[in-house]
C-alpha cells in the first residue's frame, strides 16, 4: 500500500530524514518508535504534505500513486489520514460542519455523491458514540476548549467518520489516561484493523501497543530505520531503552 524509498527531508535547512525506507501492506499495523528528535513526527508531516517539510530525495508511492506529487487535501482524499499529535483549535467552526465539509470534499474528489445532512449525522453519531463522545461535543468548535485527551479522542472520531485506507497516528497516546488509552486503542482496532487498511503508529512509548498489537515495529534513529522486528521489539525497547539499540 505504502512504499517509502530512501526518503530524505529537510525542515528549513536542517536535514531530518536521511534515507528512510519502509513498506506497509494492506492489513498490517506498523509501529515506528524512536528517541525524541529522531524524526518521527517529521515523517508523519512529510507523508501528509505539511508546508515547510521539504523532500530532497527519495520517493513515496501510495497505492501506486506518487504521493509526494499530491497536495495535502488530495492525499487525504486518496485515503491517507494523519492523526495529529497536537490537534489544532479552530474557533467558530463546529466539528460537525468541519467534518461534513471534509468528508464531502473527499467524496467529491473521488467522484462520489455528497452525504446529506441526515446521512452524515447518522455516521457521526455512530462514530462519536463508539468513542464515548457525546453529540454536544460534536457541535462545539473544533478542539476549542477540549482537554488533551478529548482532542485525541476527537481525532479518532474523525478517523472513524472519514474511514481512511491508511492512518498515520502521531503520538496518539500522549496525554491520555489509562481509560482513554483503552478507548482510543479499541477505536483504532475497530476502524483500522481490516484487510484493506493499514496503520502507521508513531509513538515514543510502547503502552499503546498493549492495546493495538503491531505486526511490525521499527526503530527510527537519526532519520533512518535502524532496526525492524515484531511486537517483541517494542518490549525490548521499553526494557533497554533506545541508547542500547542505537549502539
Amino acid at each position: 500500500m505504502l512504499q517509502i524509498n530512501n526518503l530524505h527531508a529537510n525542515v528549513g535547512d536542517k536535514p531530518i530524514l536521511k534515507g528512510l525506507t519502509l513498506s506497509l501492506n494492506a492489513g498490517e499495523i506498523h509501529a515506528i518508535m524512536g528517541p525524541n528528535g529522531a524524526g518521527k513526527s517529521t515523517l508523519g508531516y512529510v507523508l501528509s504534505g505539511r508546508p515547510g517539510y521539504e523532500v530532497t530525495e527519495g520517493s513515496v508511492t501510495f497505492n501506486g500513486q506518487d504521493l509526494l506529487a499530491l497536495e495535502p487535501h488530495e492525499r487525504a482524499a486518496a485515503g491517507l489520514f494523519l492523526g495529529f499529535q497536537y490537534p489544532v483549535e479552530i474557533p467558530g467552526v463546529s466539528n460537525v460542519q468541519f467534518l461534513r465539509e471534509a468528508l464531502n470534499a473527499q467524496r467529491k474528489y473521488r467522484g462520489e455523491a455528497p452525504l446529506t445532512g441526515g446521512e452524515f449525522l447518522k455516521v457521526a453519531r455512530e462514530q462519536a458514540g463508539a468513542l464515548g463522545m457525546d453529540m454536544d461535543m460534536l457541535k462545539r468548535p473544533v478542539n476549542v476548549g477540549f482537554s488533551g485527551g478529548e482532542k485525541k479522542r476527537n481525532e479518532m472520531v474523525q478517523m472513524g467518520i472519514i474511514d481512511p485506507a491508511l492512518a498515520i497516528l502521531d503520538e496518539t497516546d500522549s496525554g491520555l489516561d489509562i481509560d482513554a488509552l483503552r478507548t482510543v486503542g479499541d477505536g483504532i482496532n475497530r476502524i483500522m484493523r481490516k484487510p484493506d487498511k493499514a496503520v502507521l503508529l508513531i509513538t515514543h512509548y510502547q503502552r499503546l501497543l498493549d492495546y493495538v498489537k503491531p505486526d511490525f515495529v521499527h526503530v527510527l534513529a537519526d532519520g533512518r530505520i535502524t532496526r525492524t522486528g515484531g511486537a517483541d521489539l517494542a518490549l525490548e525497547l521499553e526494557r533497554d531503552g533506545y541508547k542500547e539499540l542505537a549502539a
Partner: protein, 240 residues
C-alpha cells in the same frame, strides 16, 4: 464646515474623494437610551454610505451595536458613545473588503461616569488593494472610576497591498480602571490551514473556513445573528 482632509485625525485613512462627494454630511443620528433601558441596532453597510451615530447610554442602560461593513467603494460607520453610570456598551463589527474598497469603523467611547463597561470587537478581512481601518478611542473621564473597557481588534490581509490600519487609543484620567486593548494583524494560521487540508478540504475552502473562524463570535447576541453571519460568509466567499 468644509470636508475634512487627511490631517484630520478621524479621517486620516479615509477615501477623501468619496468623503468630499458625500459632503456635507447630514447630522449624526442621535440615540438616547434612557436610564435602565436597552438598545440594539444592527448596521449592515453594503452600499457605500457614511453612518454616524451619537449614542448616549443612561444610568444602568445597555446598548449593543453590530456592524457588518462590506459594501461600496467607501463605507464608514462612526459611533460616538457616551456612557453614564454603570451603563454598558458592546460593539461587534466585521468589515470585509476587496478590490479598491475603503472601509472604516470609527469609535469614540467616553466613560463619563463611574462603573460603566464597554467592549468592542472588530474583525477586518482585506483583499485586493482594499483598506480597512479601525480608529477606536476609549476616553475615561476624571471621576469615572471602576471603568471596565476592552477593545479587541484583529485584521487579516489576504493580498499584498491590501491595507489594515488600527489605532486603539486610550485616554485615561481615572486611576481605578481596567482598560485593555489588544490588536493583532497577521495572516491565516498555517497549521490550521494544514490541519483542514489534511482532512481533505481544498485550500480555498480551508481558507474560507479559517476566515469564518476569524469572524466567529462577533455577532453573538445580535437579533439577526444568522443573517449577519450568512452575509459575512457570502462576502468572504467572494474574496477567496
Amino acid at each position: 464646515m468644509s470636508a475634512p482632509t487627511r490631517h484630520n485625525e478621524a479621517w486620516r485613512y479615509s477615501d477623501i474623494a468619496a468623503v468630499e462627494a458625500a459632503w456635507p454630511l447630514p447630522a449624526p443620528e442621535r440615540i438616547i437610551v434612557p436610564a435602565g433601558g436597552t438598545f440594539a441596532r444592527t448596521i449592515i453597510q453594503d452600499s457605500g454610505l457614511i453612518h454616524q451615530l451619537d449614542i448616549a447610554i443612561g444610568k444602568g442602560a445597555t446598548a449593543a451595536i453590530h456592524v457588518l461593513n462590506i459594501g461600496g467603494e467607501y463605507g464608514r460607520v462612526e459611533l460616538n458613545v457616551t456612557l453614564h453610570e454603570k451603563a454598558d456598551f458592546t460593539l461587534g463589527a466585521v468589515q470585509i473588503g476587496g478590490a479598491t474598497q475603503t472601509l472604516e469603523v470609527i469609535t469614540t467611547v467616553t466613560h463619563a461616569e463611574p462603573g460603566a463597561t464597554s467592549s468592542q470587537i472588530v474583525r477586518s478581512v482585506l483583499a485586493g488593494t482594499a483598506t480597512g481601518t479601525y480608529l477606536g478611542k476609549v476616553a475615561v473621564a476624571r471621576d469615572a472610576q471602576q471603568t471596565d473597557s476592552v477593545q479587541s481588534v484583529k485584521a487579516m490581509l489576504l493580498d499584498r497591498s491590501a491595507t489594515a490600519n488600527a489605532k486603539p487609543e486610550l485616554e485615561i484620567y481615572a486611576d481605578d480602571v481596567k482598560c485593555a486593548h489588544g490588536c493583532a494583524i497577521g495572516e491565516l494560521d498555517a497549521m490550521g490551514l494544514f490541519y483542514l487540508q489534511a482532512r481533505g478540504i481544498t485550500p480555498a475552502e480551508a481558507k474560507k473556513l479559517m476566515l469564518q473562524a476569524f469572524v466567529a463570535g462577533v455577532f453573538e447576541g445580535a437579533a439577526d445573528e444568522e443573517a449577519l453571519t450568512e452575509a459575512a460568509l457570502a462576502k468572504l466567499g467572494d474574496l477567496v
